[in-house]
Symmetry: C2
Subunit: 435 residues, 2 copies
């Protein structure tokens, strides 16, 4: 338990729950509610709010109010909030903090918010390797209760502050007090660098089940600590972002985001989708004569396009999820493309035959059946390939691989599906003179 003040009894509300309630209010109401809370609670509520809501509320508060809230917070939480303020407000608010506090907050603000440096906290226990176990224990005894909250491991540093090893609290308590920390520490300590991406940090926690990882500067100096409980927040964020980005929704939006805020991020992608829909429509317009002669063809258009769209979404979703879990680096991408192509070929044959036979039986036309079979087969293969290649291409272009990928995918499956089907029809039907 990181927060001993949270009982199961409803006597006192957790700041996270208060934040959920404030998110339902208008910015003015929320700012007023925040002002009515004791500073300690208000500051914690501020850190629990969705970023956008927190920014809006912060913009309503005076510099004095903001700095008194930030003063209550751990440096990393204060840095997160300060980083989102306007440059003028930032300077004014930081100037009102105690100079040493202000320096520590500014220090943390240097790191990108998606990096290990951006999510780490700077309260951890580091002891010089030259001390004895007994001396180390005495130093810890003198520290404030707060800094010790939830600490399980004590990190050992050399004379330059570089990470040298790790000791569990248990070892510290039960080893002979006269031994040097350098002797009892485990020198093989896993760590991340300040500039390690938070997704990679999360991947390491997922893969190796750490409870905490020390964070070092480029030169090896120990500067922070990331705990499993913080990584949980990162993972939830990243999962939300991936799911929502895929369909052109901001990672920040939740079901409770007011529609005024949601529309600004969603609608532009729907306009992109509209543009791509016109590309698909243009294919149909191109073949309007073919369609005018054999309107039965129109019945199969949505089947071929839709089936490709859904099969492609399967490949796309698995690919994006695997990328997020760090399973798709280097050579792996080629193997995954192979797997999806095999699935695409098999699905192409299976669904091509199914729908082709239905087409043949419906109109008693072998040619219609053949056209349907070929178009379905080709579109299923195109869908499978796109499901893997679209996120790979987005990643190579340094976009998020999930970014509106479902919109790009359905463009491919619609355009390709219509083109294969109507193209084959306009090519083959004149040869036979009938459907």
């Amino acid at each position: 338990m990181s927060d001993e003040s949270t009982p199961n009894t409803p006597a006192k509300q957790h700041p996270a729950d208060i934040a959920d309630q404030l998110e339902q209010l208008t910015t003015d109401e929320a700012a007023a509610a925040l002002r009515a809370l004791p500073a300690e609670t208000a500051s914690e509520v501020l850190t629990e709010l969705d970023t956008e809501v927190a920014n809006d509320i912060a913009a309503q508060l005076s510099n004095e109010e903001l700095s008194s809230l930030l003063a209550e917070l751990p440096h990393d939480a204060a840095a997160d909030i300060a980083a989102d303020l306007s440059p003028e407000q930032q300077v004014a608010v930081l100037a009102q903090l105690d100079p040493p506090e202000s320096a520590k907050v500014s220090e943390l603000m240097r790191y990108s918010e998606d990096s290990a440096g951006g999510i780490m906290r700077d309260t951890f226990i580091a002891l010089p390797a030259r001390l004895t176990v007994g001396e180390g224990l005495n130093l810890i005894r003198q520290r404030g209760e707060e800094e010790f909250q939830g600490v399980t491991y004590v990190y050992i540093v050399d004379e330059h502050g570089k990470l040298a090893g790790v000791v569990s609290i248990r070892d510290l308590v039960f080893r002979p007090p006269a031994r040097r920390l350098a002797e009892v520490m485990n020198p093989r300590v896993h760590f991340v660098r300040v500039d390690t991406d938070q997704e990679e940090v999360a991947r390491q926690f997922t893969q190796y089940h750490y409870m905490a990882l020390p964070v070092v500067e480029r030169d090896g100096r120990l500067v922070g600590l990331v705990e499993a409980s913080q990584v949980i927040g990162v993972l939830q964020e990243e999962a939300t972002e991936d799911m929502q980005l895929m369909v052109g929704v901001s990672g920040e939006e939740s079901a409770h985001t007011p529609w005024r805020r949601a529309i600004g991020k969603r609608t532009p992608w729907l306009y992109v989708n509209l543009l791509t829909a016109f590309m698909a429509a243009a294919v149909i317009a191109w073949f309007e004569n073919t369609l005018a002669q054999w309107t039965a063809l129109a019945v199969f258009l949505p089947i071929i396009a839709g089936q490709g769209g859904n099969a492609g979404m399967q490949a796309l979703t698995v690919t994006i999820r695997s990328m997020a879990l760090g399973e798709l680096d280097g050579d792996a991408a080629r193997r995954v493309l192979m797997k999806e192509l095999i699935l695409g070929l098999l699905n192409g044959v299976a669904f091509g035959l199914t729908v082709g036979v239905i087409g043949y039986l419906w109109k008693g036309s072998f040619l219609l059946g053949l056209i349907v079979f070929l178009a379905m087969f080709l579109n299923m293969v195109a869908a499978a390939a796109s499901g893997v290649l679209i996120p790979l291409a987005l990643r190579a272009l340094r976009f998020d691989p999930a970014l509106s990928s479902s919109i790009f995918l359905t463009t491919v499956t619609d355009v390709a599906g219509f083109f294969f089907f109507l193209g084959l029809a306009s090519l083959l039907i004149p040869l036979f003179g009938h459907v």
Copy 2:
């Protein structure tokens, strides 16, 4: 760090990395590779494998091999593997464990694998409240190193083993040794019950940033501990499952799942999709005469259906993600439906006008523009409503709200889109006598 044996040096591979490599092999090869490893490593690798792969390999191992591997594992990990064995193998393997070990593993197998009981570990430090701080410290000193790994908090129980409070290791070390634990403990300790769903456990960790939560039986007896590092695995699993279930892919599949295994789960849903595509096609077939007279209509079919599909996917994805995060209980669902309907109405007007004007300009027909406007408007509203109502309906029917919801959604947007558009056309065009 939960695993001090993992250095940054590549000298020794982490069991999780070995597991990743085994997942690339055939079951026979993987079983052979596992046999070649020392029992301690092999057992850890077994727990790191994807469930399906682990089950396949376990089926290849003899009962003796399996029980010697399980004997190396923490009880909860052994229980997870044993739970997936065939009933005969289960009995035979458990019979070969030491009777007290076997009893503990069987005990844990009683809990559903998706519950707090299913993910908790049964090694934790519990001290009777009547002891003094000094006596408690002495008891801990006598415990094995392993059981203490990563423990930050010590739980205090009453004479019946019921959870009574919590003490940090720090308090234990630095408080006066003669004081009773009952006096120094914090009695307001947050906990979950063995039957709490793992998604709810994860939600509590996300909301309140716990490092660990004790798990109690229905009668309040302390029986286990869930740590943040375990919840990370649960969250990754749940996020994967939600994303992939939406498009008809099993939550177990990863990019590296062989196609033979993937096809069995994906293809049935594609057949469901095919069925629903035929429903959409049937709408077109129904209006084939209308379409034969005005083939220009066919050009707008994919635009209206596709635009509805993508807007609906936005509403659907946000709804499902919010459900997973526990934000959509009770009254909240109605508010979210309202939000999405407002967005649907606005998008309907915006895209209806855009596409309607284009339709009017293209063919110089006011009627075509009007039909396009109305159909687009209606389909956007239907899409928005379906995006919220489909997952709500699935949940009410006790399915996973994500279950193939994108397939159901595109059915609605295709069928409704075609029906609105062609229905309006067949109704209005005869009145005007032309398009």
